[in-house]
Symmetry: C2
Subunit: 388 residues, 2 copies
């Protein structure tokens, strides 16, 4: 890397640890004499196009450190998708400001944008390094063992399932539906199993977007649990579809979007349908976005890895790399250890890594121990409660 200016932007939904990646990047760039300036774009690509950014290297290191421990995106983010002409506009902005390195934090959609920007710069002979930093609670990026942001959200929903389950056990209530984040991938839904300790601990049923299910089948599953225990706690993703590919009749938010098309009241809808089918009361809880930006549930592993990904991006820049994303490799499970490596943006752009189907129980309503082995080291020592 020649002495040059760099810019960081965030894409997509915030997480509990995206600021840790920012802090890692800033801290490492500060050490690197060839990074003249590091700008932070306000509200993602919107800030890039409008040249709204702030200088980061001169900020009080103590402030950066404490922001690195806070959830949400201190820079702000955006879901703006670049249209073809926008790529040229971005390059114009970069040229005017001598920005030679662009860091982009996001998921597989953001990595696609990064890839196209790198290709566009190549075609225009504009010398630009593009480096991706992984971020998504969905854990659906390819190549990387897992994504920064996932473990904290998994931790939140594991605790949520445990505590809603404890409430349900204390004052038995027939059907309790816990709606969980996740559009196409069931990684977060699977995590609701982590704190189970006793045979009758919640959730008693977990459904996965990877396995569409008919209402009849779900009702039969629930009835079986209810007959056995007098109650049933069901974890289901907001993106769960029925066997006809529909949202069980739930209202669809943003029906115009091909990507963010989601039911906005799936848990409630299922509670109402199951209640009518089985003739017992049902209710739903929907922590929703609270599970994405959950400060108190950020795990130490997640925060450290997010920070490391930011640092690794700075080092990759100094080493002259471009067209790459930082990824995480699991070096050991016990004790848990991980490191970072680089992968080509082509390997991750637009690719969605779903939960392996062989980790889902054959009946499609629970997760198998292979998942626990994978996820428990990331989520940490979350256990169930003692009983009299």
């Amino acid at each position: 890397m020649k002495p040059a200016n760099a810019l960081i932007a965030h894409g997509g939904g915030p997480t509990a640890v995206i600021n840790a990646s920012l802090a890692g990047l800033v801290e490492e760039c500060r050490r690197q004499p060839n990074v003249s300036m590091l700008y932070g774009a306000e509200f993602g690509l919107r800030g890039v196009l409008e040249e709204k950014w702030i200088s980061l290297l001169g900020r009080d290191p103590e402030l950066i450190r404490s922001i690195g421990e806070s959830p949400g995106s201190a820079l702000g983010s955006s879901r703006l998708k670049l249209e073809d002409p926008d790529y040229e506009r971005v390059l114009d902005v970069f040229q005017r400001n001598n920005i030679r390195c662009f860091f982009y934090t996001g998921g597989n959609g953001s990595m696609d944008t990064a890839l196209r920007l790198a290709q566009c710069a190549g075609a225009s002979d504009y010398e630009l390094q593009v480096i991706g930093i992984p971020k998504t609670i969905d854990n659906d990026l390819a190549v990387t063992d897992h994504t920064p942001g996932y473990a904290s959200t998994a931790h939140f929903f594991a605790a949520a399932a445990r505590d809603v389950g404890e409430d349900n056990r204390s004052l038995p209530s027939p059907i309790s539906v816990l709606e969980v984040l996740g559009r196409n991938a069931g990684w977060v839904a699977a995590a609701t199993s982590i704190a189970r300790k006793h045979e009758d601990d919640a959730p008693h049923l977990i459904y996965f977007p990877e396995r569409p299910i008919s209402l009849d089948q779900m009702a039969a599953d629930v009835e079986q649990v209810y007959r056995r225990l007098g109650r049933a706690v069901v974890a289901v993703c907001e993106g769960q579809l029925d066997d006809t590919g529909r949202t069980f009749g739930a209202e669809v938010d943003r029906p115009e979007s091909s990507v963010h098309r989601l039911a906005s009241n799936l848990g409630h809808t299922l509670a109402r349908l199951l209640s009518a089918k089985l003739g017992v009361r049902a209710r739903a809880e929907k922590p929703g976005l609270l599970g994405r930006c959950c400060g108190p549930f950020a795990t130490g592993v997640d925060r450290r890895e997010a920070f490391d990904c930011g640092r690794a991006a700075a080092i990759a820049a100094v080493e002259g790399r471009t067209g790459v994303m930082v990824a995480i490799q699991r070096d050991s499970n016990d004790p848990y250890r991980s490191s970072t490596f680089l992968t080509a943006l082509e390997n991750v752009a637009r690719l969605e890594r779903l939960l392996p189907l062989e980790w889902i129980a054959p009946a499609g309503n629970d997760i198998l121990p292979a998942f626990t082995e994978y996820a428990a080291p990331l989520i940490g020592g979350l256990t169930g409660y003692p009983r009299l």
Copy 2:
């Protein structure tokens, strides 16, 4: 108190610290030679009537201690209401088992049951001590400064409003409705204000069941905030009613109940209505019961006070008291200190203490500093996040 058997039962919804009261009671009863046996009724009055209970004094003190630190009700609870003939049945059960002291943990409905049981025993010349232990996340019991369980739920929703707000600030989204626990009283809704630090921190609007509001007024409030900030986070109780005393068209759960009549999808309904009225997107989060049984959010003050209430109940029994409930008195705010005292069940039975109207902002959409002064010492040092 002559040497006799005692029984403890829980009534109503569990909390994050109801087990701490149980632990305090067990620990103190163990020290008292006149308590021959302490039974714990399984699933509240249901367990009493069916004589399903377990002996508590012989249990491993370490198990009792760790249960005391767990949310939910280890004994189980019930919403069973006693009909007139049931009171005699309960006394029969007590007589058969030489139970001379009944501890009942609950809210104002449970204290009414306790009072009627004491009166019934008096009328039947059955020597029985009845002692209430306060418990409710609603904080709506009279006489006591606050109720065990409230601070932990207030803590949960204060953090939820902060974190949903941080998400909304990171990736601005027009309208975000956070549905909060609370049927008739706005104590929990008010607590969503506690972590606000910057002028534009969420929630931007808070509504209270004590102040019914028209949809038009709410929409006007939201529009004003949205125009100023480009976003609006609204905290509203599940029990909020409009100016005609209706649930804004939301579905009513248990329409047959006079006490537990509640909208089951109020947040979602309001999001949809506000979206239609203002022509911008809106979504709702409903952590629901997760805010009631929230292990990780139990506050130290709440747990200690719940424990102390259990101990105080045991001491009251040994001192021969009956027809009383343990209450909390605030001795000092800085440093926070409290102690317990006894009040007659007549002073609390069926009485609902609402949020003082003079603590609500005149416009009915925010809370005034008098509440913060009251609640902050209970909830502890929850603050907002730093900004770049």
